[in-house]
C-alpha cells in the first residue's frame, strides 16, 4: 500500500483551537489566582484538608495542560491510556511513601 500524500495522519484538531487555547489560559490563570488567594487566606490554618485542596487544584491544572496544550484530549484513547495509566501507579507509590515517611518520623522518637 502506498501512501504518498503529504497528509498529517493524526486525529482531528478542533477548528476553534485558538479560542480553546485562550480559554484554557484563563482557566489556568484563574486556578493559580485561587491557589494564591487560598494560600494567603489560610496561612494560619494547618489542616490536612488544605493540602488536599492544593493538590486537587494542581491535578485540575495538569488536566488542562495535558488535555488542551499537549493535545491529549484530541488524540486516540489508546495513546491517552498508554501515558496516563502508568502515572496512576506512580501516584499510588507517592501515597505509600508518604505513609512510610510518617512511620520513619515516629521511629525517630523511639529510643
Amino acid at each position: 500500500m502506498q501512501h504518498t500524500e503529504e497528509h498529517l495522519e493524526h486525529t482531528e484538531t478542533p477548528h476553534d483551537m485558538k479560542s480553546q487555547i485562550w480559554k484554557t489560559f484563563w482557566i489556568l490563570f484563574a486556578l493559580t489566582i485561587v491557589d494564591i488567594a487560598l494560600y494567603f487566606m489560610l496561612l494560619s490554618n494547618h489542616s490536612i484538608l488544605k493540602n488536599w485542596v492544593f493538590i486537587i487544584l494542581g491535578v485540575v491544572k495538569a488536566y488542562y495542560i495535558v488535555g488542551v496544550f499537549m493535545h491529549m484530549k484530541f488524540e486516540r484513547k489508546v495513546l491517552m491510556y498508554t501515558i496516563i495509566l502508568p502515572m496512576l501507579f506512580v501516584v499510588f507509590l507517592v501515597a505509600l511513601m508518604i505513609i512510610e515517611g510518617n512511620f520513619t518520623n515516629m521511629l525517630r522518637w523511639v529510643k
Partner: protein
C-alpha cells in the same frame, strides 16, 4: 526499504504503512520520553514526600505576617524564635519570602507566583506557535517561538535569582540554617533538575526558531517539529505546577 528519515517523516506513516496510535513516530516517541521523564521527576518528588514526612511538620508561624517589616537578620531571628529547628521541616513561607529590589519585607509566595505566571504564559505562546504551524503561517510561528524563548529565559533568570538569594542566606547541599539539611539539598536537586529541563527546552526552542526562520519546515511541508518541542515545553510547565504545589504551597 533504505529510505531516510526525512521521507518517513514526510509520509507520516511507519514502516508498515500505518501510524499506530494515529500519531507520527517522532511524536509517539516524544510521549514515551516524557513518560519516562515523568518517572524521574516523580522519583524526586517521592523522595521529597518521604523525607519531608519523616520530620515533624512545620511549626505554625504566628510571629511574622505578610507585608510586615522584617529586619536584616531574619534567619537568625527565626532561629532564636524557635521556628528553624533540626526536628521540624521549615515552613516554606519563612524561607522563600524575598522579592527582587524589595528588602526587609516579608513577601511569601510573591516571587514564585510571578515565576508561575511567566511559565504559564510561555506555555500559551508555545501552543499558539503550534496552532500557527497548522496554518503554515511562518511569520506567526516565528513570532510566538521568540516569545516562548523570552518567557523561558525570564523564568531561568528568576530561578538564578532565587538560588542566589537562597545560597546567600547560607543554604548549601550539605547544610542550611533553616532546619533539616535535606531541606536545601532537595530544593537544589528538584528545582535544579527542573531548571535544567527549562534550559534544555530553551536551547531546543532556539534551534527550532532558527529553523523556522531558515524556512526548513516551510520546505518540509509541515511544522511537526514545533509540535514535538511544544510537547516537551508543556511538560516542563506541568512539572512546575507540581513543584509549585509541593514545594511552596504545602
Amino acid at each position: 526499504m533504505a529510505t531516510n528519515t526525512l521521507s518517513t517523516e514526510k509520509k507520516f506513516t511507519w514502516g508498515g504503512g500505518k501510524s499506530p496510535f494515529s500519531v507520527s513516530y517522532g511524536k509517539l516517541m516524544m510521549w514515551i520520553f516524557l513518560l519516562s521523564d515523568a518517572f524521574t521527576f516523580s522519583s524526586l518528588l517521592i523522595a521529597y514526600g518521604f523525607i519531608r514526612h519523616s520530620y515533624q511538620s512545620p511549626i505554625p508561624n504566628e510571629i511574622v505576617k505578610p507585608l510586615s517589616d522584617v529586619g536584616h537578620n531574619f534567619v537568625e531571628h527565626m532561629q532564636q524564635a524557635g521556628l528553624f529547628v533540626q526536628e521540624n521541616w521549615p515552613s516554606p513561607e519563612l524561607v522563600f519570602n524575598h522579592f527582587p529590589f524589595i528588602h526587609g519585607i516579608h513577601l511569601p509566595l510573591f516571587f514564585v507566583s510571578l515565576m508561575t505566571f511567566i511559565l504559564i504564559f510561555s506555555s500559551v505562546t508555545m501552543v499558539l506557535a503550534v496552532e500557527a504551524g497548522h496554518r503554515m503561517a511562518k511569520d506567526e510561528v516565528a513570532k510566538y517561538m521568540l516569545l516562548t524563548i523570552i518567557g523561558g529565559a525570564a523564568f531561568l533568570g528568576c530561578q538564578a535569582w532565587e538560588w542566589n538569594t537562597f545560597i546567600g542566606e547560607g543554604a548549601r547541599l550539605y547544610s542550611n540554617p533553616f532546619g533539616p539539611r535535606s531541606f536545601a539539598a532537595l530544593f537544589f536537586i528538584v528545582t535544579g533538575f527542573h531548571g535544567f529541563h527549562v534550559f534544555s527546552g530553551v536551547v531546543l526552542n532556539v534551534i527550532i526558531y532558527l529553523n523556522v526562520l531558515a524556512g526548513t519546515y516551510e520546505k518540509r511541508g509541515h511544522y511537526e517539529m514545533v509540535e514535538k518541542v511544544g510537547l516537551y515545553w508543556h511538560f516542563v510547565d506541568l512539572v512546575w505546577v507540581f513543584v509549585f504545589t509541593f514545594y511552596y504551597l504545602l
